[in-house]
């Protein structure tokens, strides 16, 4: 809410600049910003139109003679449809500044001299929705005679300075001028001074024919009414109008405006009804039915339902309680008797209704955050007082009670020692009591214990911690000296999982892969494409877009999307990885398991063509090399096997391997299927994905240092011809199975198929290394092992040893 300095000064002697106040209030209470109106306006005066005649050469322009407080009247050409003789209007003089850099110049309009411009409020920067309806399509007319030549900007409140409080939901007590005055007063150690409304008791006439019924007792805390007779509905006086439009409220008429004015003054929404349009002078607060309708205006009717709390009169719904008053029983120019309602409704009910019908506004904003139920009657009386002041009422009723809940102060007990300990400060009892007094709280002291009585206007205060916050913020956080927790030492660090993940990532970084982070919520297609864990899909109930609707089941789609994004930006040589969670759900559960995965992708060239090297196109083996290096770093007992597979949809059936350890699948590596690749707008791309938890579960190798071998190793080369379908991995596995205890290593040095090789066959060459750590190997021993290897290969795979 914007706190007008002009208004605030009625309660508080503050003469600081708005900038200074906003800064100080921000630091002690509520985030605030200074607002200065009309800084772009100049040379605006009150003008009195003394005669008017049509422009000789125009069918819509008029020539106005205007008294602007100078010795001679001036002529101004005006095209507004509502201009008339004897109006007091806003005149922008020759040289006047208007918003957006507009400048007014004396000149001629169709041959007639015009010494300025008669203005509408919107031309002065007031939002059109805040301009009284009668003046929205034309010039503004002052409601009463003003002195010609007087500064119009000041008169219209357009020079006001304000502090804009951006409140947190707990500080709705400052959504009224009085609450704000308490807050700003506490900041400056000044107590605000208020005068309470005084009604003319001689005008009170007992009323017994108004019927009030509260049927939804649990949603209504207070419901007080007064009726007033003999109102003269008209425009509000200027002082009220200007305060309203500066608050963002459109002036309507003096009755509605008085109610809105009191809402700003006390923070308490008040509603007014045309008493004579109520059915049998009755109002009922009750739940709507699913058939109820609320007519807002000629165009909009809202369908209500049984969750809506409404104000009814007979069969007619007048309004949505605490949210909006519809068209029925509105106060109009013909109204003479008014029912004024001051109530407190359940905040949650109001908030939901306002949300449901998309009708959030000034009243619902206050009810949903809470209002002071100690100010219900005083607000009601204030509206009566204002209307009486403006229209001189014939009479008014006593307070008619639909429901009343006595406002009780809150009592909070607090320990001086505890307050100081929790803050890390050393305030004395007297210092604390003085701070609480600035806030208008009264304190009784008994040893270490403070008993604090808090008025109902601060309904946010309930426990000792609230009190501590008040003391601390008024004392000033800038007076708090930082310390570090002084308790027992603790051992900080990562979890073993996180340590492991950090290691995996460091390997991939050193392999030249950039780390990416993509979205956990993906499209249905992305959730489906690489669901190798065969998870049930998990969907969010109200997605913002189809792109982010399902929880991901693989990291691969995010990587492919990243490659496509980069390729579209002319970067096609990509080496990236992501470490993140996938969501694996079983059908019987709502909740998916969150499984840490790591995945990578290579696309385009490795490196770039340079002056001395040629770029190499990435291939399956480049991707596999990275995976193998990563697995090597795991330092586990298990050996990893790469088994060819054509079962992973969207991967190349001839260039994909499942990776297993101890016969359990831990991931895969492969090339994207050419069709999928094309659809995804990427070049040849190789990917891998590994389940971090599966890798972490593998038994760690117990590394014991061994001295370098003392005895020489012996090597043998083995060349075989074998069916093309047999994978080298199978051959190597068989060699190890039959090579005896001294076979140390097997390296493939040749793969060949083509001329000189039987069709459907390939030639493979292996380098075998034998070593006995404790003795020199004899030729005999090696030859025996070598023969066993060859025999087995012939037996198992029908190879031809060459």
């Amino acid at each position: 809410m914007k706190i007008s300095m002009d208004w605030l000064k009625e309660y508080l002697p503050v003469d600081h600049s708005v900038e200074e106040i906003a800064n100080k209030v921000s630091l002690t209470g509520i985030e605030s910003a200074p607002v200065k109106l009309g800084t772009d306006l100049s040379k605006l005066v009150v003008g009195h139109i003394t005669s008017i005649k049509p422009h000789p050469d125009s069918d819509h322009l008029n020539l106005c003679q205007v008294d602007i407080g100078q010795s001679k009247e001036v002529q101004i050409v005006c095209g507004a449809p509502n201009v008339a003789n004897d109006q007091y209007v806003i005149v922008a003089l020759d040289g006047a500044d208007l918003p957006a850099g507009k400048k007014i110049k004396k000149g001629e309009i169709r041959g007639q001299v015009s010494n300025g411009m008669i203005c509408g409020l919107d031309e002065l920067g007031v939002k059109e929705s805040l301009v009284p309806t009668a003046y929205q399509k034309g010039i503004y007319v002052f409601p009463a005679a003003e002195t010609p030549g007087q500064d119009a900007k000041e008169l219209l409140g357009l020079n006001d300075e304000m502090v804009d409080l951006d409140i947190t939901p707990n500080r709705a007590d400052t959504l009224g001028m009085r609450g704000a005055a308490w807050e700003i007063g506490a900041t400056y150690d000044e107590k605000p001074q208020f005068t309470d409304p005084k009604l003319d008791e001689t005008k009170v006439k007992a009323v017994d024919d108004v019927k009030i019924q509260i049927k939804a007792d649990d949603l209504v805390t207070d419901y007080l009414v007064r009726t007033v007779s003999g109102v003269k509905v008209s425009e509000s006086p200027l002082w009220m109008q200007r305060r309203l439009w500066n608050q963002g409220i459109q002036p309507v008429n003096n009755i509605v405006d008085a109610a809105n004015y009191v809402m700003i003054e006390y923070g308490e929404p008040v509603e007014v009804y045309d008493l004579d349009k109520l059915d049998d002078k009755s109002v009922t607060v009750e739940m709507a039915t699913d058939a109820s309708k609320l007519v807002l205006d000629d165009k909009i009717t809202k369908d209500l339902n049984q969750n809506d709390l409404v104000i009814n009169s007979g069969n007619v719904t007048l309004g949505l309680a605490g949210v909006i008053h519809g068209q029925n029983a509105q106060v109009t120019s013909k109204t003479t008797n008014v029912l004024i309602e001051s109530a407190v409704y359940d905040g949650t009910s109001v908030r939901k209704a306002a949300q449901r019908h998309d009708l959030r506004g000034d009243a619902s904003n206050r009810f949903e955050k809470g209002v002071d139920n100690g100010a219900v009657e005083i607000s009601l009386n204030r509206v009566v007082e204002l209307i009486d002041e403006i229209t001189d009422l014939d009479s008014y009723s006593q307070v008619l009670v639909g429901k009343e809940t006595p406002a009780k102060p809150t009592i909070i007990k607090a320990s001086i020692e505890h307050i100081n300990r929790l803050m890390g400060i050393t305030l004395t009892d007297q210092e604390m009591i003085k701070i609480l007094d600035r806030l208008g709280f009264t304190t009784a002291e008994n040893g270490d214990q403070l008993t604090v009585t808090i008025p109902s206007r601060r309904w946010d205060m309930t426990i000792e911690a609230d009190l501590i916050e008040e003391i601390m913020r008024i004392y000033g956080y800038e007076n708090l000296k930082g310390t570090l927790p002084s308790g027992n030492e603790t051992n900080g660090g990562y979890t073993p999982q996180r340590e492991f993940i950090n290691k995996l990532k460091s390997v991939l970084l050193s392999e030249g892969m950039d780390e990416t982070i993509t979205f956990g919520l993906v499209s249905k297609k992305e959730a489906t494409d690489f669901n190798t864990v065969e998870s049930e899909y998990t969907r969010v109930l109200h997605p913002m877009t189809e792109d982010h609707e399902y929880l991901r089941t693989s990291l691969i789609p995010g990587l492919i999307k990243t490659i496509a994004y980069n390729k579209a930006r002319k970067t096609s040589d990509i080496s990236i990885f992501e470490q993140g969670r996938i969501f694996d759900r079983e059908e019987v559960n709502d909740r998916p398991k969150e499984v840490e995965y790591i995945a990578g992708a290579l696309s385009g060239d490795l490196g770039a063509d340079t002056w001395n090297t040629n770029a190499k196109k990435a291939d399956f083996y480049d991707m596999k090399a990275i995976v193998e290096e990563l697995l090597e770093f795991l330092n586990v007992e298990a050996t990893f096997e790469f088994t060819p597979t054509d079962k992973i949809e969207h991967l190349h059936p001839g260039q994909t391997a499942i990776i297993t350890a101890d016969e359990k699948t831990v991931g895969f590596v492969g090339k994207l299927h050419p069709e999928y690749q094309a659809k995804s707008s990427v070049d040849d791309t190789y990917v891998f994905e590994l389940n971090v938890y599966s890798l972490l579960a593998l038994t760690k190798k117990n590394v014991k240092a061994q001295s370098a071998p003392k005895y020489p190793s012996v090597s043998r080369d083995l060349a075989i011809l074998v069916d093309k379908q047999i994978a080298s991995g199978q051959i190597v596995k068989d060699i190890f199975n039959n090579g005896g205890e001294y076979l140390k290593d097997v390296n493939i040095f040749d793969v060949y198929q083509g001329s000189n090789i039987e069709i459907g066959h390939k030639s493979l060459g292996y380098h075998l290394i034998f070593q006995n750590p404790n003795d020199t190997l004899t030729d005999d021993t090696v030859e025996k092992a070598f023969t066993q290897i060859k025999d087995s290969l012939i037996d198992q795979f029908d190879v031809e040893v060459r």
Binding site: K481, G492, F519, H542, P543
Partner: protein, 348 residues
């Protein structure tokens, strides 16, 4: 010609030949030719028998000197030739050292993870555990245990991706607080934890909003934890991240799960407090929210708020990175343009 003269002549011509030799091979040949057993000096000494006996020792000495001088001349020349060869080799091997080298590229860690790890390392040094959390969380931990019951207006403030009525994409890493307090054995000492991770909100993605972003929660529960401890801790953090000269200030704020609650500003690292575009001419930049844990939150974990107290804070790694490196579009973190990613090589 006397033998004496003959030897002197051989010396003169041998030295001359050595000096004129251009190749190592020629010099070796010269050595063999002049000083070998079949060489001219040996040949000449055969004439010794015609020399009078008393002159023979003198001739012998001369012959040795001649050999030595020739030998020396050859070796000197060898050295000269060698030096010339090396000089020529060096000349030939000279490279343009300004040409670029072929690098082995090392990948770049994502700037968000660099930012998070920098903060993690800071807190690990202060004895904090790094707790992972769940991205799919129960309503119970994400809201109710944080003093945000059903129907609380704060639930409107953070629009949530629900999966079922009770299950949601967590909207805040504070959801980890309840889980960690429940699990902690306070007889073993204080709870000091940070919990970084991904959170989700129902926001449209634009330059300043992302439906997915990161948070890092911190929580310390012990006897005698104070607001001053919170200030000192965050002061040290801000100096670690934004520079040793930074000051911080607290402003009152509101969060349902802390009381008192504060917003924390750090003095502008760009202008040092003078006022500039980054700090919107205030000299201060809002960086995080914090407070003393609300007694209700402690009670829900079975912790007696009279005996224990706690502070908590939550910060946004995206915001930290955007401020520190002048990143102006949050979407850049998630589109992963490698040119964007690689500019942060080694910044942390």
């Amino acid at each position: 010609m006397s033998l004496n003269d003959r030897l002197k002549e051989l010396r003169a011509s041998g030295i001359d030949d050595a000096k004129r030799a251009e190749h190592l091979k020629d010099l070796n040949d010269l050595r063999v030719k002049l000083l070998g057993k079949k060489g001219p000096i040996t040949q000449a000494l055969r004439g010794m028998k015609d020399v009078p006996k008393e002159e023979r020792p003198e001739i012998g000495t001369l012959a040795n000197n001649v050999k030595k001088d020739i030998q020396e001349a050859i070796e000197n020349r060898i050295q000269e030739v060698n030096q010339r060869i090396i000089a020529q080799k060096l000349q030939e091997e000279t490279l343009d050292v300004t040409l670029p080298a072929q690098s082995h590229k090392i990948g770049t860690k994502h700037i968000l993870n660099q930012t998070i790890e920098d903060i993690e390392q800071f807190f690990i040094g202060l004895g904090y555990e790094v707790a992972p959390g769940y991205e799919v969380e129960e309503d119970h931990y994400n809201f109710e245990r944080l003093n945000i019951p059903k129907d609380h207006p704060a639930r409107d403030m953070q629009d949530t991706f629900y999966i079922t009525n009770e299950l949601l994409m967590r909207t805040q890493t504070s959801a980890q607080e309840g889980r960690d307090m429940d699990a902690h054995d306070f007889s073993k000492g204080p709870l000091k934890m940070i919990s970084p991770g991904i959170v989700y909100r129902r926001d449209d993605d634009d330059a300043t909003h992302s439906h997915q972003f990161h948070q890092l929660e911190g929580l310390v529960v012990d006897k005698n934890i104070s607001m001053a401890d919170l200030k000192g801790t965050l002061e040290a953090l801000c100096r670690h991240v934004f520079g040793p000269d930074r000051e911080i200030r607290f402003r009152p704020s509101f969060f349902p799960f802390t009381e008192p609650s504060v917003e924390v500003d750090v003095s502008c690292f760009n202008c040092g407090g003078e006022g500039c575009r980054i700090c919107k001419y205030t000299g201060w930049i809002e960086v995080l929210g914090a407070g003393l844990t609300h007694p209700n939150v402690l009670k829900m974990s079975g912790i007696d708020p009279q005996q224990y107290s706690a502070f908590a804070f939550g910060l946004g790694p995206e915001r930290f990175a955007m401020l520190k490196y002048g990143i102006d579009d949050i979407r850049d973190f998630y589109t992963n343009d490698v040119r964007f990613l690689e500019q942060f090589k080694g910044v942390n």
